[in-house]
């Protein structure tokens, strides 16, 4: 347990009277990629959004149980959601750059958190974030153009750059490639592999190949329950549970 970054214990989520997650317990290690897989509506995105308290935005959503990030309880009234979210970046399913310039998109986080004192520092953070997201070379001449003018894959990398500009420890990715073509997907997958050295990454995906390619751990969700979790190799070659077996061989879902 020494290097577990996120420790979930008995997490239940209700949307109104409908229960979406049933007692999820999970242990996520530092600087690894964990993939959450499962059929649509199985609760994997819901679980992901518990980790940075994004479910707070949904009025009818009630979360109970315990999630600890760095041994600190985050499912509590007292949690400082703002600082939690600056520690946990998130990349969404559809690229959602702000209708601002490329530069301002990345500069947004560092500015509101007061991470920089001078214009030069800000420029440096923006450039290094874009470099880490593998986008810098493509956009360095047009940092003042609107972020929405980029292609889908570039927009998604811009969103990744925006997320890492505030120097988070964890990055949550909610089906980051589902709106992208195979080439853009391959670029993002490569990027995820690089980012693993510095960040703990949790990725929700519908593509089992993608989970197999980018992740070290895989968790299989089904109907709101965590069916099986383990090394990605093992899940994809020799799962313990027959439901997992059926899902990854394409018998349902």
């Amino acid at each position: 347990m020494s290097n577990s970054k996120i420790l979930a214990n008995g997490v239940d989520v209700y949307y109104g009277s409908k229960q979406a997650l049933f007692g999820i317990s999970m242990d996520i290690k530092e600087k690894e990629v964990t993939a959450l897989i499962g059929p649509s509506g199985c609760g994997k995105s819901t679980f992901l959004r518990c980790i940075n308290r994004m479910n707070d935005l949904i009025e009818i959503c009630k979360v109970s149980g315990s999630i600890k990030v760095d041994n600190e309880e985050i499912i509590s009234e007292k949690t400082d959601v703002v600082s939690l979210r600056s520690k946990i970046g998130m990349v969404f399913q559809k690229p959602n750059p702000f209708p601002k310039s490329i530069f301002d998109n990345v500069a947004y986080g560092p500015t509101i958190h007061g991470l920089v004192d001078s214009k030069n520092d800000l420029e440096e953070i923006v450039h290094s974030s874009l470099k880490k997201a593998g986008l810098f070379d493509e956009v360095k001449d047009r940092l003042n153009e609107p972020g929405t003018s980029l292609s889908g894959g570039q927009q998604q990398r811009l969103c990744i750059a925006r997320a890492i500009a505030v120097n988070p420890e964890i990055i949550l990715m909610d089906e980051p490639c589902s709106a992208l073509d195979p080439i853009a997907t391959a670029i993002i997958e490569e990027l995820i592999d690089d980012l693993r050295l510095n960040y703990t990454i949790i990725i929700v995906t519908h593509s089992m190949q993608q989970a197999a390619r980018v992740s070290q751990k895989t968790c299989f969700f089904h109907l709101g329950e965590l069916i099986e979790t383990g090394e990605t190799n093992k899940i994809f070659t020799n799962p313990d549970n027959t439901k997992t077996q059926d899902y990854i061989t394409g018998r349902f879902g």
Partner: protein
């Protein structure tokens, strides 16, 4: 007369419907084939061929009958009399005698004759009116019934007719608008024939009085509209100073902070503000706000008049709050949720998200809402009539009496005046300018709102 003809038409279309329905059933039974459309469509087809010609006859009679009869009576009359009469007075007299024989006492024999001529013409017209309606309905039904064969696509034809009807209905509003614009333009041209357009647009003296009698010593009228536009602008600015912050902050609260239940209650309540008759706002401004403004002005050493730009503008501002809050609320709501999530996901708090992401994204729409509110404020009449006064002062002091374009139009049209002098015609010129300004504001506003919508869809 026209009531009973409506009853006649109603009976006609009812029986034509029944007839069409039974006839097509009979025909398709006779031929042993199923009709292409449902029987009701054939019935509607017959009905339409009955109804529309009858309506055309009805309306042409309603519009032209009186005119034609009067012309006939008058032409005969002049032939007999050979004297010059005022036609309008003469006709009124003839009609009076015709409608009420007791008025005949003491009238000249020509008038009594003309009145009886008039009555008999009316009777003839009435009879021929009923006959032609019946005939035209029968003809329509006859034409339609020839088409009542099973292989006839009644439904397609009905749909085509319905399309024509819809086009007709929608063009009514458009043609009315065009008509209004043209009448504005032509009457304004008459005004500008007497008053130079440069004087109207650039002179600062508004003194719209003209000598009523020949040789009267009253001053020549002066038609410089600058003080009026300045007054309008001043009232508008005051109104926007009230409405812009209140409306926008209300919108932000409703869209971002209020729970759905609060929002569902508050928004319609605010929209009720827009439904209060403006005259009610007007006397509220005059009775409650204006004295307060006067007292306030005195307490800070400014001599305020009992009606002022400030009082009118403040109340007008309250009136247009719902325009701004409701439209801005819609615009803020249509900023995609994903942008909110992106900002919050980075660790921005709610205020930062609203200030730095949502308002910039919604800005074009909010500007559009402001422009619509401004054009509403400029065109508003009753509040300013009651609470701003009628004195054309060229002033920037909101505690003073001012007047607006709409108020001057009201003033110009009050009283018995023929539309042949610059005073009354000035209403059209003012109206034209007002129309052009609000039209441009509306076009710009709608364009901005539209472009903004396209960006996210």
């Amino acid at each position: 007369m026209f009531f009973w003809s409506l009853v006649l038409i109603a009976v006609g279309i009812f029986s034509s419907f029944i007839y069409g329905r039974s006839r097509i059933k009979l025909n398709s039974k006779k031929q042993g084939t199923k009709s292409k459309s449902l029987p009701n469509y054939y019935a509607q087809y017959v009905l339409m061929w009955c109804l529309f010609p009858a309506l055309i006859v009805y309306f042409s009679w309603a519009i032209f009958q009186e005119q034609i009869i009067q012309n006939i009576v008058i032409s005969n009359f002049e032939f007999i009399e050979g004297a010059v009469y005022n036609e309008g007075l003469l006709l009124a007299e003839i009609r009076n005698v015709a409608n009420n024989p007791s008025f005949a006492d003491g009238k000249s024999i020509e008038i009594i004759n003309a009145a009886s001529h008039y009555s008999s013409l009316r009777q003839i017209s009435q009879i021929s009116f009923y006959t032609s309606i019946i005939i035209i309905m029968l003809l329509g039904a006859l034409y339609a019934s020839q088409k009542l064969k099973p292989e006839f696509h009644a439904q397609h034809t009905i749909e085509k007719y319905i399309q024509y009807i819809l086009i007709f209905c929608s063009s009514v509003a458009i043609f009315t608008t065009i008509g209004i614009v043209f009448s504005l333009i032509f009457e304004s041209l008459r005004f500008f024939a007497e008053v130079s357009i440069f004087e109207f647009l650039f002179s600062t003296e508004w003194y719209p009085f003209i000598p009523i009698r020949e040789g009267q010593t009253a001053a020549e009228g002066s038609f410089g509209a600058v003080p009026i536009f300045a007054g309008t602008f001043l009232v508008m600015v005051v109104a926007m100073c009230v409405a812009a912050p209140l409306g926008l902050l209300t919108a932000i609260y409703l869209a971002e902070y209020a729970s759905p239940r609060v929002r569902k209650t508050v928004k319609p309540l605010l929209e009720i503000l827009a439904g209060i008759p403006t005259i009610v706002y007007g006397f509220f401004a005059f009775v409650s706000v204006a004295p307060f403004v006067k007292a306030f002005g005195q307490s800070i050493g400014i001599d305020a008049s009992p009606t002022s730009a400030l009082a009118a503008g403040m109340v007008m501002g309250v009136m247009i709050i719902p325009f701004i809050s409701s439209l801005s609320d819609d615009v803020i709501n249509s900023v995609p949720q994903s942008l909110r999530e992106a900002s919050l996901g980075i660790g921005a708090n709610k205020a930062e998200t609203i200030k730095k992401v949502i308002l910039p994204a919604a800005l074009p729409g909010i500007v559009g809402a402001f422009l619509l509110a401004i054009s509403r404020a400029i065109g508003e009449t009753m509040i300013v009539v009651v609470a701003a006064g009628t004195a054309p002062n060229l002033t920037g002091n909101p505690f003073e009496n001012v007047t607006t374009v709409t108020v001057q139009i009201v003033v110009a049209l009050i009283g018995d005046q023929e539309f042949d002098n610059p005073r009354t015609l000035s209403a059209f010129a003012l109206g034209l300018v007002l129309f052009v300004i609000t039209l441009f504001l509306n076009i710009i506003a709608l364009q901005i709102v539209k472009r903004y919508r396209e960006r996210y869809e």
